[in-house]
Symmetry: C2
Subunit: 307 residues, 2 copies
């Protein structure tokens, strides 16, 4: 089954203490789609400017990503300039220009309106609601949010949450949304706001799942070096949604496998700048790390002993 994602596509300039990139393809919809496409067909809803480069149209197209919902508007594409600290969990936004994304209010294509799987990436809750209202009867809706919307668009966010099956956010955002310092209490408090499942992303410490049949905790894939954390969360969501769309069902076991695939794909994304690693990733790379991830986290080590 196919997935519709709404989000940004833009050009990122990223500085770290060990180097950087300038005007690299980025944006939530880019990372999401480049991860999800390994599992299921994905259709993007986004806006790019007249400066959006042919090589990037091609990059998506060659990976069978549906771009019919990508509006090309006169003017410059969305741009973000971020700077990571030595501790890569901390970053500053040097500059942000919405450009053609400002005021973007998409009308979904007829087949997008019939989508089963919808991902509302980290854009304003108003825009998330605008897109969701056009989807006739989605089977599963997931959304991401961030501190900016929690602080400045709380009423719209609270209106969205009861319509969301899976909400993803990071640990700080979970605390901010609920006012609970303890993350376990925060996760449970968010469930009361409406989402059936809450996935709290803890960066190098992995993911906590609240809701569903039971709680699930999984570590992140251990990396000796993180080059660029940008897009890890959207990559995670892309692989997770891709897996859910591919299986077409939502059992506890399928959800957990999706979280592991999400963690695996995200671990590739951060190995290089921007979408560089995602763009060259092969299915064999994913399967190999998936198996290693299961071994890494298997408390009994039993699957491997019996082989």
């Amino acid at each position: 089954m196919s997935i519709v994602v709404v989000g940004t596509i833009g050009y990122d300039t990223i500085d770290t203490t060990h180097g950087g990139v300038s005007e690299a393809l980025g944006g939530s919809a880019s990372f999401f789609a480049l991860a999800a496409r390994f599992f299921a067909p994905v259709s993007i809803v986004a806006a790019v400017g007249s400066d959006f480069r042919e090589e990037h149209w091609r990059l998506f197209r060659e990976r069978s990503i549906d771009l019919r919902g990508m509006a090309q508007i006169e003017g410059p594409t969305f741009r973000w300039h971020g700077r990571y600290h030595e501790d890569m969990n901390v970053r500053d936004t040097v500059s942000l220009a919405l450009n053609v994304f400002e005021g973007f209010k998409p009308d979904l294509l007829p087949d997008q309106q019939r989508a089963d799987y919808v991902f509302l990436s980290n854009i304003s809750p108003e825009l998330q609601l605008h897109v969701l209202s056009q989807v006739a009867s989605p089977k599963l809706v997931a959304a991401d949010t961030m501190n900016h919307w929690i602080e400045n668009a709380r009423p719209a966010l609270l209106k969205l949450l009861p319509r969301v099956d899976i909400l993803t956010l990071n640990d700080e955002e979970a605390r901010m949304l609920t006012g609970e310092a303890n993350l376990i209490r925060a996760g449970r408090a968010i469930l009361k706001l409406g989402p059936k499942t809450v996935l709290v992303k803890r960066g190098e410490y992995g993911v906590l799942k609240f809701g569903g049949d039971s709680m699930f905790a999984t570590p992140a894939w251990p990396l000796e070096e993180v080059i660029d954390p940008t897009g890890a969360g959207d990559t995670f969501a892309g692989a997770l949604m891709g897996w859910l769309a591919r299986t077409g069902r939502l059992t506890e076991s399928i959800l957990r496998t999706g979280i592991v695939y999400g963690s695996v794909l995200a671990s590739f994304t951060v190995e290089k700048f921007a979408v560089e690693r995602l763009a060259t990733l092969a299915w064999e790379d994913i399967e190999e790390r998936y198996r290693a991830f299961i071994e890494l986290t298997d408390s009994h080590h039993s699957r491997w002993m019996s082989q």
Copy 2:
């Protein structure tokens, strides 16, 4: 098979933002023994003063902990006064008095010298070496250390490490010992210093195992409230060593199960002040949380689906 533990037994005064205790039974050997005894016989090597209270002799004795190696010396018992911040990962030592533990150089009993399982808790590397040199042919030696010894007794610590099968330390200490900011590199670098297995304790984020057949990562049991983190690390080591002594073997699978038991017991310890929770814990409590822990971390959720 039985375990010998050398460490402190003392009286702790603990302040937190939500209350505290005064002159409560504590010390690394106390937590270790009260956890290990659920799995295997444990024998303590420690010194207490003339003020050590009868109720605490009884507390150990009623739990079949061997106290023949516990010297009672004229003078006051070891005392520690700690203060936790709002963020309970941070604590200050208000005061520390070694008292009768100062200059303690134990001679092991003949049967302790024949011990198979030895735990050298967080005392000076010189004292750890002094005890270890008396054990004829230990099957498995584990040791804990801390920032103080890494900074002030590095040569002795480096002498100890090649003789250690399992080293436990926390993430900050792993970074300090190796000078590696990345925890994965730090863990691997410690293996080169001698220990066959390194267990990095990450508090609420769980444990990372380096060495052995493969890497293992497990989260901590999610708690809505942490009352007092004191002794969590020694409790972890106690349950782990207890499990290893009980099984008498060291396969990857047995080691992982021991790490989970360690995490489970530690999660009980932090639920109340000092040894309060450990002292009232029943085997049924452990088994119940162990099963829930396996479910929490099972990527496939398969064990539960097939039941």
